[in-house]
């Protein structure tokens, strides 16, 4: 057998091996993609209904006797008036045949308690409403919402479902009158948490996550990059520095809840910082993110060809100038990649935030770094733990918001990275 024949005889086997390997690769990617599709379909299928909500249009008489008995438009009086009474009165008018305490309570249960707050806002915004009758779209109770979305099965025996036949009858009557409608759920994007699903919103958690991540980014990026530059460029080579390097690598593998405990002990108990706040959350997540950013930054500094640094030193740049003028700009895209990974981790982190009290029930969206807040993953955890059917779909909707936040954040970073990379 000649040499060429020898090679040819082995060729087929080599090509088969390559084909097999490609098939493995494609299978792996398809498998990954299908899991991703499964994940997204399940989340979207569960969550998309949460973006609409059932509203009922009621004629509301803004009774001056109830809202403003003194007739002086005192804001304090307007604020503390009993608007729920207006809703009740209107509902009784819808069903004049219903009498008796328990029957009337069933009628009012159709509406959400939040509709009273809605009316209050309208009156405070426009006090001229007092004394008039307006047709107003008001939020229905979450059970009614679930009924309209088809989550309550009418075939199930009456005592096994949350709404009895009478209440379903009332809702059907309203529906036939054409005053029940599904509208876009603005509450979900403008409110904080609530015990009532129809009044609960994601804004509080979103703001909490946003403020926390601002603190994390502002601290961890400069500190991480500075540490990486020092370790790569200026640190003497000795045992102490070796020890530091080993510890940084180990810290990257420490479970995040440990950082939460550390934050609780140091920042809250020792430094006396306010608990449940984005500033403490940001500090804790900074500790958690730093190792990732330092390691990624060091690797990207090492990846810069040494000839660039030598060229700068050769014309008389100081070590710092060589670093900041030449090495850092080239290493920056890599550093940003590390930062994206770190920030994405921080965004999805709930365990350390539980330790520092960001798991609290917070109705008012935070407006500053020291306001009590919660974060998106913690909110998801809290809602997933609630029994109401309305929270189940809100859990999935909150996951969608979290993913959208993540995608926006990463897209921004990728855009910045592209822009920086283009400049050099």
């Amino acid at each position: 057998m000649s040499r060429a024949e020898q090679i040819v005889s082995g060729l087929a086997r080599r090509q088969r091996a390559e084909k097999r390997f490609r098939a493995y690769g494609i299978t792996a990617i398809l498998l990954g993609m299908s899991f991703l599709v499964l994940l997204f379909t399940s989340i979207i299928a569960n969550g998309y209904q949460a973006f609409t909500q059932t509203y009922i249009e009621l004629p509301i008489y803004f009774d001056p006797e109830v809202i403003d008995p003194n007739g002086d438009r005192d804001p304090q009086a307007l604020f503390s008036a009993d608007y729920w009474k207006l809703v009740k009165t209107s509902m009784y008018q819808q069903f004049p045949q219903v009498s008796g305490r328990s029957g009337r309570r069933e009628v009012t249960r159709i509406m959400s308690g939040g509709s009273a707050f809605d009316l209050r806002e309208r009156v405070i915004e426009n006090p001229d409403l007092i004394g008039t009758t307006q047709r107003v779209w008001l939020v229905a109770d979450d059970d009614i919402d679930m009924l309209m979305k088809g989550y309550i099965d009418r075939e199930v025996p009456e005592d096994e479902r949350r709404l009895n036949d009478r209440m379903i009858g009332y809702v059907d009557t309203l529906d036939e009158a054409g005053i029940v409608e599904r509208k876009f759920n603005t509450t979900f994007f403008t409110a904080g948490d609530s015990r009532e699903p129809e009044q609960a919103g994601i804004l509080g958690a979103l703001m909490g996550s946003f403020l926390t991540l601002i603190v994390t980014l502002l601290l961890s990026f400069p500190i991480g990059v500075a540490a990486a530059i020092y370790l790569e460029e200026f640190a003497p080579r000795n045992r102490f520095i070796d020890l530091i390097e080993i510890n940084i690598n180990n810290l990257a593998a420490v479970p995040s809840i440990i950082f939460g405990l550390l934050g609780l002990a140091i920042f809250i108990n020792w430094f006396g910082m306010p608990r449940s706040t984005p500033v403490v959350g940001g500090l804790v997540l900074t500790l958690m993110t730093l190792p990732t950013i330092i390691i990624a930054s060091r690797v990207s500094i090492q990846a810069v060809p040494p000839s660039i640094k030598e060229a700068a030193l050769g014309v008389g740049a100081s070590r710092m100038q060589a670093m900041f003028h030449h090495v850092l700009p080239i290493a920056m895209p890599g550093m940003l990649t590390g930062t994206i990974i770190g920030m994405a981790q921080a965004l999805g982190e709930s365990a350390p935030l539980l330790m520092i009290g960001m798991v609290a029930f917070i109705v008012e969206p935070p407006s500053g770094f020291t306001d009590p807040a919660t974060a998106l993953p913690v909110q998801i955890y809290l809602w997933s733990d609630s029994p109401e059917r309305g929270f189940t779909e809100r859990t999935s909707a909150a996951i969608l918001v979290l993913l959208a936040f993540l995608v926006t954040m990463n897209a921004t970073a990728v855009y910045l990275r592209k822009k920086i990379a283009k400049r050099f």
Binding site: P305, S307, I308, A311, A312, G314, V315, G316, A317, F424
Partner: protein, 288 residues
């Protein structure tokens, strides 16, 4: 030559076994006159160590004003190491230690008070592989004058950039695209850009570390021609593997072997009548 290469340099006592068989007892003390009239820099009794390994042994050599001295010798003979002592580029290598004196204006550049930043502004360097910054051609040349604060305004800077590019023989080729990245030029152009960058800070000495080893013959010829021009204004020390190049561009030649300066003298003497046996064997191509 980059940092890792310098560290991976074969260490002399290993080489000794392999290079010239049966000639271990050869006398390696310098033959010829290492001094020159009107020296710009003086190397005196310099020993260089990488950790425990010694790479350069007791070298004495003058770098003459407005002349070119070439350093030749087989790989690992310490010529690049010695060259990098002249502007203290060896400082950047971990574990590299220099003993002895390297004098400029009668002062040791390794003295405590000397700032390597100032030294490197006075002693410029051109590297083996063209290493322009990944910035525009203009910014490449303007970088040195900018960081040293040598210019008052944009007009000054533009003038320096233009004269430097002109002296490096590159102006005609790039004057219409000064804002294009320097890395987009051909290899030879890149190396001339690096030369322009080095002369933009008006150094007194230019060190060239095998500046043509990555270039084709035509680009090499242009650089060599340029070295002849630059000699009028600068003192030049060049490390080269090409003996023809040494013969063409330099006035003095130093032959290194295993870290020792074996022979030094006027270039024409070295190549026509070498005094040392090793020099003769090297230039006649018997090893190296």
């Amino acid at each position: 030559m980059d940092t890792t290469e310098a560290l991976d340099m074969p260490i002399p006592d290993q080489l000794e076994e392999t290079v010239i068989s049966g000639k271990k007892d050869i006398d390696l003390t310098t033959v010829g006159d290492y001094t020159t009239e009107n020296p710009r820099m003086k190397i005196r009794d310099v020993n260089v160590f990488y950790g425990a390994k010694q790479a350069v042994f007791d070298v004495n050599l003058d770098i003459g004003s407005n002349s070119v001295v070439s350093m030749i010798g087989p790989s690992g003979c310490g010529k690049t190491t010695l060259l990098r002592c002249l502007n203290r580029m060896n400082d950047t290598i971990d574990g590299c230690r220099v003993e002895g004196r390297v004098e400029m204006d009668g002062k040791n550049v390794y003295a405590r008070k000397v700032d390597p930043v100032l030294l490197r502004a006075r002693v410029g360097m051109v590297f083996q592989k063209p290493n322009p910054f990944p910035k525009s051609i203009f910014d490449n040349v303007a970088y040195g004058p900018r960081i040293h604060g040598l210019v008052r305004d944009r007009t000054d800077l533009e003038e320096i950039v233009h004269t430097s590019l002109e002296r490096a023989g590159l102006l005609d080729e790039v004057k219409d695209r000064l804002d294009q990245p320097g890395t987009g030029l051909s290899g030879g152009q890149q190396q001339r850009l690096c030369i322009a960058r080095a002369i933009a800070v008006s150094p007194e000495v230019i060190l060239m570390d095998e500046p043509c080893s990555a270039l084709d013959p035509i680009a090499t010829a242009r650089i060599e021609e340029l070295i002849g021009e630059l000699r009028k204004n600068f003192s030049i020390a060049i490390v080269t593997h090409s003996m023809q190049q040494a013969a063409r561009v330099s006035q003095r030649t130093a032959y290194f072997h295993l870290g020792y300066l074996v022979e030094v003298g006027p270039t024409k003497d070295i190549f026509t009548m070498p005094k040392h046996q090793l020099t003769e064997e090297y230039i006649t191509g018997r090893f190296g």
